[in-house]
Amino acid sequence: MSYRVSVTVNGRSYEREVEPRLLLSDFLRHELGLTGTHVGCEHGVCGACTILFDGEPARSCILLAVQADGHALTTVEGLSPSPGELHPLQQAFWESHGLQCGFCTPGFLMTLVPFLEENPDPTEAEIRQALSGNLCRCTGYQHIVDAVKLAAERRRAGR
């Protein structure tokens, strides 16, 4: 039995027929070819598959694709304003060494972009709490915290 899913991803509309058991993470990657959303633990622990579901971060590996019918999603591919340009948070990650292998990075970005919009001037404790739902095995998190601080400073300075 398959179901029709109409969904907007990064401003573009897609329509697909899917089995109800298809996870949203696999839908994005295999049906839409948006492989920027990474799949780590596949049971809602590591945060690598975080996307925006109607503007709020959610884990796409514990959502069904059919649940996204009629909703608007943003994936990491939707962050940068144009090809060759980085989102300010991506730029800050790059400059602060906020990533090494980069596997977890899309999930961190999709968690932290809405966090910075809601908390333009976060404390270090707030930043650490905000990224507690995302696992990184390379950085030890310190450089990610630095990247968030840098992005927040630039955002407040209007740069």
């Binding site: 996870l23 069904l64 966090f115 507690s132």
Partner: protein, 295 residues
């Protein structure tokens, strides 16, 4: 694809969802936030034949003040909404204090109030809060009308509730706090957002002379469900909330009333110790807030 195959429907009304449950009964599972259900389906620890997705039923998604003065929370109200809604902060500050402890923002954006109660995970925050606040829960089945169940009769043990397979939890009613009441929600987890190793939802009501009229001490991660330590709370009734009285209650609850399971991170004894420390802190905080409410 991780989960086993299943049939799926997302009805637009509560009646349609109840009809589906009446037809599929024990083979069906309700999909609310899915933040516990989908992981166990991904592991194939659960293989429901039929999923009734209630996310498209707007009549289940509300937070409002009932005509009887209770705070009414619809089953589909998401944790994030409870965290942000001023009415929750004003009418149920204990609930408002507990919600940020539930997992991470990504989970709170999807997880629902009703889903957490119906799932009845002993490490979950909301069952303990519902019990501490004497919540009443409205359950409905197709054609059978509603029944109201007190939180203390709803939780029946490990992942077990009073819900029948063809029933849906529709809403909860939280009574207003009595005058001179203080509250506290505290938990200890290895990282913020992880399941608590120990946690407590406490409520203290003082009488006019400033002595304890009623106390409630409900623990999470302390047994097969939320554990209501009635004997420990009973020790406080009629007493001044002194350091000695707090210590006696903390000792009673942590030694005799909770049964925290040993796991890879902590022994049962260590969790009893945590519960005892949290009881002290929570009672101090709740009594202080009750005095402020009196002043």
């Amino acid at each position: 694809m991780k989960p086993a195959p299943f049939e799926y429907q997302a009805p637009a009304t509560l009646d349609a969802a109840l009809d589906l449950l009446a037809r599929h009964g024990g083979d069906a599972k309700i999909l609310a936030g899915g933040q516990s259900l989908i992981p166990v389906m991904n592991f194939r620890l659960a293989e429901p034949a039929f999923l009734v997705d209630i996310n498209r039923i707007p009549e289940l998604d509300f937070v409002r003040r009932g005509e009887d003065g209770t705070l009414r929370i619809g089953a589909l109200a998401r944790h994030r909404r409870l965290e942000r809604e001023p009415l929750v902060a004003a009418a149920a500050p204990l609930l408002h204090e507990a919600v940020p402890h539930i997992a991470h923002p990504q989970i709170r954006n999807r997880g629902t109030f009703g889903g957490s109660l119906a799932h009845a995970d002993p490490a979950a925050e909301l069952p303990a809060v519902a019990l501490a606040l004497d919540a009443r829960l409205r359950l409905r089945r197709a054609g059978g009308g509603d029944r109201w169940v007190d939180a203390r009769d709803f939780f029946a043990g490990l992942f077990t509730t009073a819900l029948e397979p063809d029933e849906i939890l529709v809403e909860a009613a939280l009574p207003p706090l009595p005058a001179r009441t203080g509250w506290a929600f505290l938990e200890i987890a290895r990282r913020h957002g992880d399941y608590a190793q120990a946690g407590i939802a406490a409520r203290v009501t003082l009488d006019e002379a400033g002595r304890c009229r009623e106390a409630r001490l409900v623990y999470l991660s302390a047994g097969g469900g939320p554990v209501d330590a009635r004997e420990a709370a009973g020790l406080l009734a009629g007493e001044e909330i002194s350091a000695a009285a707090i210590e006696a209650a903390a000792e009673k609850a942590s030694r005799d009333e909770i049964e925290p399971p040993t796991d890879v991170h902590a022994t049962s004894d260590f969790k009893r110790h945590l519960a005892r420390v949290l009881t002290r802190r929570a009672l101090g905080l709740a009594a202080g807030r009750a005095r402020e409410a009196t002043a």
